[in-house]
């Protein structure tokens, strides 16, 4: 009597897998290649989600335009962190991105005339693409796969060209890079804005898939989750590393959900596993980093 293959469960997880992949591709590249540790990607994700939600609810903009505008909104927001990265070095920049995240979250909560504050925004129409409505997870999956491929193309395209080598060089030795006419800060800002754009696009997908957005989803725990996944990647293989990180994350969180751990322990266990992965990856990479 039970369906052999519960497609919806399968599809739902894969949709989130590919939505998160977009954010994580950008974040891992900006962290490892451009050396910008950002705790603010939860905010870019949120800004993308809210932009798409507001555009579709109030101005019934189409799915595609809303997604592009959501990405651009996040890109615009990233200019603030870009400005900070000009003047601050790594650890101060990380704190500035944390402040940016918290201010954005407070804004989403308090600007209730626009964002409906703590009630969140309901009634976001599902994604319409070429005439059919993607209501079920299965029908939404192709969209998120395509957009994830879009993210892969962008990041690999950059990392394989001399532009990508210059980006790596901008962290290795910005002084020497300048003697060849390249501008390290412009390169870093370029990477940051592209990763913010991808996070914004992912945010709009989340809005269209869940048809509801709430400020509580775009706080520090989301940023840290993205960072934990992005940690696995390396500058040389950003995409492959992210896939390993994503697989690790989803398998552990879904596995824990399926094993009948007492429910109240699961939430903490997932967090503890995330923390341990970050810690072990950082320690492992430190031990093997060639000087």
């Amino acid at each position: 009597m039970e369906a052999v293959l519960n497609v919806d469960y399968f599809a739902h997880i894969l949709v989130f897998f590919f939505i998160y992949s977009l954010v994580v591709f950008g974040l891992s590249y900006s962290t490892h290649a451009a050396g910008i540790l950002s705790l603010g990607h939860g905010a870019f994700y949120g800004i993308g989600a809210y932009t798409a939600a507001l555009l579709t609810i109030h101005f019934n903009v189409g799915f595609f335009t809303a997604t592009v505008l959501a990405g651009l909104a996040a890109l615009l927001a990233s200019s603030f962190i870009g400005f900070c990265s000009l003047r601050l070095k790594e650890d101060y920049l990380a704190i500035a991105t944390l402040a940016f995240l918290e201010v954005t979250r407070q804004l989403l909560y308090n600007w209730s005339s626009v964002t409906n504050g703590a009630y969140g925004l309901a009634g976001i129409p599902p994604a319409q693409l070429f005439g059919f409505e993607a209501r079920q997870p299965v029908s939404f999956l192709p969209i998120s796969i395509i957009l994830s491929l879009f993210g892969i193309v962008i990041i690999t395209r950059i990392s394989r060209t001399p532009l990508g080598f210059s980006i790596l060089a901008s962290t290795d030795d910005p002084i020497a890079l300048q003697t060849f006419g390249k501008r390290p800060t412009v390169l870093k800002l370029g990477v940051l804005s592209i990763s913010a754009f991808l996070a914004g696009v992912a945010g709009s997908q989340y809005a269209f898939y869940v048809n509801y957005v709430h400020p509580n989803d775009f706080g520090l725990s989301t940023s840290i989750m993205f960072l934990a996944i992005a940690m696995i990647a390396t500058a040389r293989r950003p995409i492959a590393g992210c896939f390993v990180g994503l697989l690790l994350f989803f398998v552990t969180s879904e596995l824990l959900r399926l094993l009948n751990f007492p429910a109240e322990v699961k939430g903490n266990l997932i967090q503890i596993l995330t923390a341990l992965t970050i810690f072990l990856v950082v320690l492992f990479r430190e031990r093997h980093a060639k000087k």
């Binding site: 009597m1 039970e2 369906a3 052999v4 293959l5 519960n6 919806d8 469960y9 399968f10 739902h12 997880i13 894969l14 989130f16 407070q106 909560y109 308090n110 504050g117 703590a118 009630y119 969140g120 309901a122 209501r135 079920q136 997870p137 989340y206 869940v210 048809n211 509801y212 957005v213 709430h214 509580n216 989803d217 725990s221 989301t222 293989r237 492959a240 896939f243 390993v244 697989l247 989803f250 398998v251 879904e254 596995l255 959900r257 399926l258 429910a263 109240e264 699961k266 939430g267 903490n268 967090q271």
Partner: protein, 378 residues
């Protein structure tokens, strides 16, 4: 590297596909998507709900279960985050093949999972989300807790009857407390009253001294304090510390023992609305539930416990009458009228909401008693 990646991805897909729905057909499986861990005291609400559901199920199963089958609950943690709630509900619907889910806790989560339950024709019954925005989010969506409009209006009526001309409100920036505050303001002002201060505290903060100082300066006739497990206790304590002499009004979160533990004797003589009565004056089904809960868990039931207990019973009642598929549960629930539950009289309207009439209660040296309002008859 690519080969190993593809291989890894393949096992991931197989792993996902392989998780067959468990559950033999000799038992009814109910889903429960509640916050068991997370920020802002999320775990407290989950624990209250889980304890009451387990209590109700053990009682029902002791009497042979429902529709000839025993009941089992699968719990999923939502961490008070809509994003996590969506995945939790997805797993309950698609893996555990549940037809009814008790949850979610915060209004944000319920609004996020409601469309999924509607789409998959699964009944969602929330024991905790009070926002009035949930009322029309679908005909599979029910609640065993009254919408915030009820308590807001009831307290406004009481304030007007007591002759208060001005009032102030201090609440936290989340749906559960913002709703009653705004409803109270609307009702109070339409009837001629005047709100002299509406002070909001940011999420997760426990320091309301400045908000309360502004309220004290506005010298209202009464102060309406709204917060949850981590906030309300501190609001009360800090009002006493700031020497606010005016009568303090509040809502059903006052039932939560943790709030009184934090507030200490500041909780005394706070007038609050709540459909249930904890401790001394409770009678009938509520008293029976309180005694059973204390006997099993050695502590008093907290907020949402009563509503979760009733949720299980009304589900069992619906299944008993029409069967365990979602349509029958839905039909059965809509037919439940003035069911005498632990959280008061439950009757579902066409929105799936219930309206247990809130009673006026207060604390006297640590005990909840019914508040006898001596309105000056004018």
């Amino acid at each position: 590297m690519m080969k190993s990646l593809v291989f890894l991805f393949a096992c991931f897909l197989m792993f996902l596909g392989s998780c067959q729905p468990r559950g033999t057909n000799s038992e009814v499986v109910i889903g429960s998507a509640i916050s068991l861990t997370g920020q802002e005291g999320a775990g407290v609400y989950g624990e209250n709900i889980r304890n009451s559901m387990e209590l109700a199920i053990s009682e029902i199963n002791a009497k042979g279960g429902t529709h000839g089958k025993l009941i089992r609950v699968v719990y999923e943690d939502t961490q008070l985050q809509p994003q996590v709630a969506v995945s939790a509900v997805n797993k309950l619907i698609n893996v555990d093949k549940v037809k009814v889910i008790v949850g979610a806790v915060s209004s944000g989560e319920t609004l996020a999972v409601a469309p999924i339950c509607e789409r998959n024709k699964v009944v969602l019954i929330s024991p905790a989300s009070t926002s009035h925005e949930i009322s029309n989010s679908g005909d599979y969506i029910f609640r065993t807790i009254a919408p915030d409009t009820l308590e807001g209006n009831a307290m406004a009526k009481f304030a007007l009857q007591s002759g208060y001309k001005t009032a102030a409100a201090v609440f936290v920036d989340n749906a559960g407390t913002k709703g009653p505050a705004e409803v109270f303001k609307q009702a109070f002002e339409t009837a001629g009253g005047k709100m002299v201060a509406m002070e909001v505290g940011p999420q997760g903060s426990t320091d309301f001294r400045t908000q309360l100082a502004k309220v004290k300066a506005a010298s209202p006739d009464a102060v309406y304090l709204l917060g949850y497990a981590l906030e309300l206790g501190n609001m009360l304590k800090q009002s006493k510390e700031l020497g606010i002499q005016k009568p303090l009004l509040s809502f059903q979160v006052m039932e939560e023992p943790k709030v009184v533990e934090i507030a200490g004797n500041a909780a005394n003589s706070v007038i609050f609305t709540s459909p249930t009565i904890r401790a001394s004056e409770a009678q009938g089904r509520t008293k029976q539930f309180i005694d059973a809960y204390r006997q099993r868990y050695k502590k008093d039931p907290g907020i949402f416990s009563y509503n979760a207990y009733d949720a299980v019973y009304v589900i069992a009642k619906a299944i008993e009458r029409y069967g365990e598929d979602a349509e029958s549960i839905k039909k059965g629930l809509y037919e439940i009228q003035n069911y005498d539950g632990a959280s008061g009289q439950i009757s579902f309207d066409r929105n799936g909401d219930t309206a247990q009439p809130p009673k006026l209660l207060t604390y006297q040296n640590g005990q909840i008693v019914v508040f006898q309002p001596q309105f000056a008859q004018r």
